[in-house]
Each structure stands twice: as C-alpha cells, then as structure tokens.
C-alpha cells in the first residue's frame, strides 16, 4: 500500500500501532473466540443457558439498565445546573463529576460497602425500616449509578453549552412559559446526547466488577453479577464456562449498543438540530 504524503513516518507509525494492537488486544481476544469455537454453538448455548449463568446475566444487564436510566435523569439535571447556573462551588462540583473515572474501582467498592452496610452512615438510616441496601441487588444498583454518573453529564454538557438560546427566546415570545419551553424545546434537543451517554454508562455497568463485588453480597441467583461469575468459574478451572459467559456478555452488549446507536440516529433525525 502506497500512501502519498510529504509527511514522513507512516510505515513505522502504522507498524508500531498494528504490532502493539495486534499482540496486546487482538491476539488475546482471538484466543477467546478460538476457545469458544472449540466448544461449538450448542456447547456455548448449553453453558450460557445454565440457570445460574442466566440469573447473573439478568442481574448485570437489568441493573445496568436501571442505573443508566437514573443517570439519564440526574446526569441531565447535573449537566443543566453546571452549564446554565452560576453558584458558589460550581467549578469544584464540575471537577468532582469525573471522580468515578479517577477513583480506583476497588476503593469505590469498599467505600460504598462501608457507607451502605447496616452499620454504615447511610445503611444505619435505612436499617430501622428493615431496608437492607448493601449485600442486596439494591447495593449493586447504587454502585452502578456511581460508575456511570460521569457519562451522561459529560456527553450532555457540551451540547447544552453550544445550544443556541434564541430558540428558547422564540418559544417565550410565542407565549410558552419557561417550564413548557424547557420540556418542549430544550430537552428534546438533548435527547440524542442523553441516549449516547446512557448507552456508555450502560455498557460500563455491564462489565463493571471492582466497585460492585464488595457491596453486592455475591449470592448466586440473587446478587451475583456476570463478571463475578467469570471469576468464580476461573477459580474452579472451568475455562469453558468462563469463556461462554464472556462471549455472551460481549455479544449481548454489542447487540444492545447497536440498537442504541440506531435509536440515537433515529432521535437525531426526529429531534433535529443537536449534533
């Protein structure tokens, strides 16, 4: 392949890129696919449809979806507040949004477990009402909200910052009240960004491990997530089982993300002007 350009260095740069990508990412992923291929379709299917595996996949995907939905609402609200309002501590709050990206997941995990355990600060508040948060699926949900929090905020923020306020003025001159303008004019323009951010939060949630396992309780069929079940299978030297779950997670995430992408492009057509 001949690349015509006055800039030199294409061959070494592309060579380094492909070599590292191939050896460190593609080759190991190929090992996963090869291992699954040796099981055959029916072999993979039997392993994935085991009741305990199905329960774990349901837990991971269901709770990630719920957490992404909460983040869609509160992430949009947070982005709105950070972009549109000026108040003391705004910049600090803005910087703090990235904390779940920066804080190691194991640290977040033990901190959340300590907070929501029956003797923790928040767990103790819920305990008198016989409500248990840590070591139940609710705990998993809390951890997934934490890890997904920055995604929606950070995708909606730039769109909101660039949005022209003249459409809002137009709505106001046509007699719409402020709340109605926000609901009917501003929010629809944000829909594509909210969907994109929620999709990222969802994908992250499905694969999340470190921040979940400490607060989850990890009871099979109840609060066991799919990534943990992979680790459990590996500890039992059940490589086939681990491979099948990994393949199922990759496939389902891929299909769901494709669907969300389609939804995203539909909403961009439907709601127009946002990028």
């Amino acid at each position: 392949m001949r690349i015509r350009s006055v800039i030199p260095g294409f061959v070494p740069a592309a060579g380094i890129t492909l070599l590292l990508l191939g050896l460190l990412v593609l080759l190991p992923l190929a090992a996963l696919v090869l291992r699954a291929a040796s099981l055959g379709w029916s072999g993979v299917w039997d392993l994935v449809t085991e009741p305990r595996v199905l329960a774990a996949l349901r837990t991971s995907f269901g709770l990630s979806l719920a957490a992404a939905a909460v983040n869609a609402v509160f992430g949009t609200l947070t982005a709105w507040v950070l972009v549109r309002y000026e108040f003391p501590g705004r910049r600090l709050l803005d910087a703090a949004v990235d904390l779940p990206f920066a804080l190691p997941t194991a640290v977040a995990g033990i901190a959340l477990a300590a907070l929501y355990a029956p003797n923790g600060w928040i767990g103790a508040l819920a305990a008198p009402f016989e409500v248990r948060i840590a070591f139940t699926p609710v705990g998993i949900f809390i951890a997934l909200v934490f890890v997904g929090l920055p995604f929606v905020v950070r995708t909606v923020q730039p769109v909101l910052a660039e949005a022209q306020q003249d459409v809002e003025e137009a709505a106001a001159t046509l007699g719409a009240g402020r709340i109605r303008t926000i609901l009917r004019v501003v929010l629809p323009a944000l829909v594509p960004a909210v969907i994109a951010g929620s999709a990222m939060a969802f994908a992250r949630g499905v694969g999340e491990y470190g921040s979940v396992i400490f607060i989850a309780g990890n009871i099979p069929f109840v609060s066991e997530i799919a990534p943990l079940l992979i680790v459990v299978k590996l500890e039992e030297y059940d490589f086939e089982g681990a491979t099948a779950i990994a393949l199922a997670m990759l496939t389902v995430s891929f299909v769901i993300l494709l669907g969300l992408n389609a939804l995203g492009s539909w909403s961009r057509r439907r709601f127009g002007h946002a990028r």
């Binding site: 800039i7 590292l20 090869l34 300590a114 920055p150 997670m249």
Partner: protein
C-alpha cells in the same frame, strides 16, 4: 469599644445609605430565557444533593475510615511489608504500562491524524475496543492465551517463562485496559492541528524525526500530559483485569488495589482503607491536575476527552 470601631470594620451594608425604593427591585422582570427562581434553586439543590450522596460521601468515608483509629494505626498499616511490596509493584506496573501507552498513542495518532488510508475508521474502532470490554474479560483473554491450559502457556512454561500469576501478566492486562487513553486524547488533537506546521518544517529542510521532536511534540505536549495523567490513574488503579491474572500472592503479585481487597476480606478495615486512601489521594491529585490543564490549556488539549 463598639463606638470606636472604624467604619472599615463594619459590614458594608451598615455604612451604605438606605437605597431609595426601586420599583424594579420589588417586581424585577425576568429575561425570557431565565428560569423561575424556585425552579433554579430546586434544580441546584437536587444536583448538589445527588453529587454529594454519590461522590463526596464515598470519598469522605475512605479518609475517615483510614484515619479513624488515629494516625499511628494509619502509618502502621502502610509500614507493613506486604503493603510496601504492593506500592512498589503498582509503581513498577505503571512505569512500564504508561511509556508503552505513550509510544502507542503517539504512533497511532501520527498515522491516523496525519495520513489518509483505507481502513482508518476500522483502526480507530479497534483502538477503542478495550474500553467496551469488561476488565474481567480483559484478564480472562490473557489467561486463555498464557495460562497453564492456554494457547501459548505450555510452550512458554517449557522455557521457564511465567506470565499468568506473575508480574508480566499484570503488566499485560494493565496495558490492555489502558491502551486507548493516550491515543484517544491525541488523535482529535492532532487532527485539529493538521499538517501545515510539519510541512513548513520539512520544506525548510528539517528531517522527519527532527520535525517530530521540534514541531509536533511541542504542539501536543499538554494533550500528551493530559492523556498520561488519565492513563496513569487507570494503570495504578486497575482492579478487575489485574485481579484475574494476578493470583493474589501476597508480597509478590498484589498491586495496591488487590492489597485493598485482601485486607478488606480479612476484616482489617483500617489497613484496607489506609491503602485505599493512598489511591484516593492519587485520584484527587489526578483530578486537580486534570482540571488545571483543562482550565489553563483548554485550547491545547482535545475538546472531547470524556470517558
């Protein structure tokens, strides 16, 4: 005493003459794009509550638990030989993984941003791939490749090379999960900057490598630093992928996050949170430097660097 208080010490409102009643002060007209005050206050309060609950409280609990039994217990936990071995291993892993990522990030950004070639968008998607793979799966693929029953494991073992349950596996898994960080930061930045600066240098007779060192590198330095910052935070904090390949051998293959897990599972909460507080401190420093870069060099780092 109050009589002799100088006017400068009094609150400003006390020295100001009472303002004439202003009709607009009583019923100020709102701009059409301004939200009702109640709506605004409620939105701010709700967002602050949400962020305090999910961000500030977990962070606070780490430090409070770490120092809960006094500074002596905190220092004692960090003086532990296993804890020090974990710190050393984490620093070693980051010292290998981050430079590899720098080389990869610059090489990938150079060919993607400065050249047109078929299959470019596929390459960009492949670079992003590790972000959409669960960390546990990232660890698993290395076990399937290099483990005792893996594709290459038995061959390497015959030569006495251990990858899984050893430091090389930890380094490889860390590179896997951090690989996109620097490339993702540099690609949009270098695409924005175009090739005119380099073309000028080349036409004036500079060699390719000299052009890169003297023109490209200074142009991307803040973006590169930004990427290194995020990459390093993830490399030092990675848990899932490393956990799968490490084998949790105390003093040998436990990184700091793994040491946190081991101590926590042994109900040694103070020691677990002491090690965790070091990682939380790293996260805070990362966030502070990142905000500083965003604020000071906003034009010299890529616009969308979220993830």
């Amino acid at each position: 005493m109050p009589d002799s208080m100088p006017a400068a010490l009094l609150p400003p409102s006390a020295t100001k003459p009472a303002a004439a009643p202003d009709i607009r002060a009583r019923k100020r007209l709102r701009a059409p794009t301004e939200d009702p005050p109640l709506f605004r206050a409620a939105a701010i309060a709700l967002a602050v509550f949400f962020l305090a609950l999910f961000l500030v409280l977990p962070l606070a609990v780490v430090f409070i638990e770490a120092f809960g039994k006094g500074a002596a217990a905190f220092l004692e936990a960090l003086r532990e030989e296993d804890a020090r071995a974990a710190v050393r291993l984490t620093l070693t892993v980051a010292a290998i993984a981050v430079p590899v990522n720098v080389v990869f990030g610059i090489a990938a950004a150079w060919c993607i941003a400065k050249f047109e070639f078929p299959g470019k968008s596929l390459l960009v998607s492949l670079i992003d791939l590790p972000f959409s793979v669960s960390p546990v799966v990232a660890g698993l693929v290395y076990v399937l490749l290099f483990g005792a029953q893996g594709l290459l494991g038995p061959t390497l073992q015959a030569y006495g090379i251990e990858v899984i349950f050893a430091v090389p596996g930890i380094v490889l898994a860390t590179i896997f999960v951090t690989l996109p960080f620097i490339a993702r930061e540099l690609i949009p930045l270098m695409e924005d900057q175009g090739t005119t600066d380099e073309e000028a240098a080349l036409s004036l007779g500079a060699g390719g490598f000299r052009t890169f060192l003297r023109i490209t590198l200074p142009n991307i330095r803040w973006g590169l630093l930004y990427g290194v910052l995020l990459c390093n935070a993830r490399a030092m904090g990675e848990f899932g992928a490393v956990s799968v390949v490490s084998g949790h051998i105390r003093g040998l293959t436990n990184t700091m996050p793994l040491q946190v897990e081991v101590l926590y599972n042994e109900y040694n909460a103070t020691a677990a949170f002491a090690v965790a507080s070091l990682l939380a401190g790293l996260a805070l420093v990362t966030l502070a430097l990142k905000s500083l870069l965003e604020w000071r060099y906003a034009d010299e780092i890529a616009g969308t660097h979220r993830r």
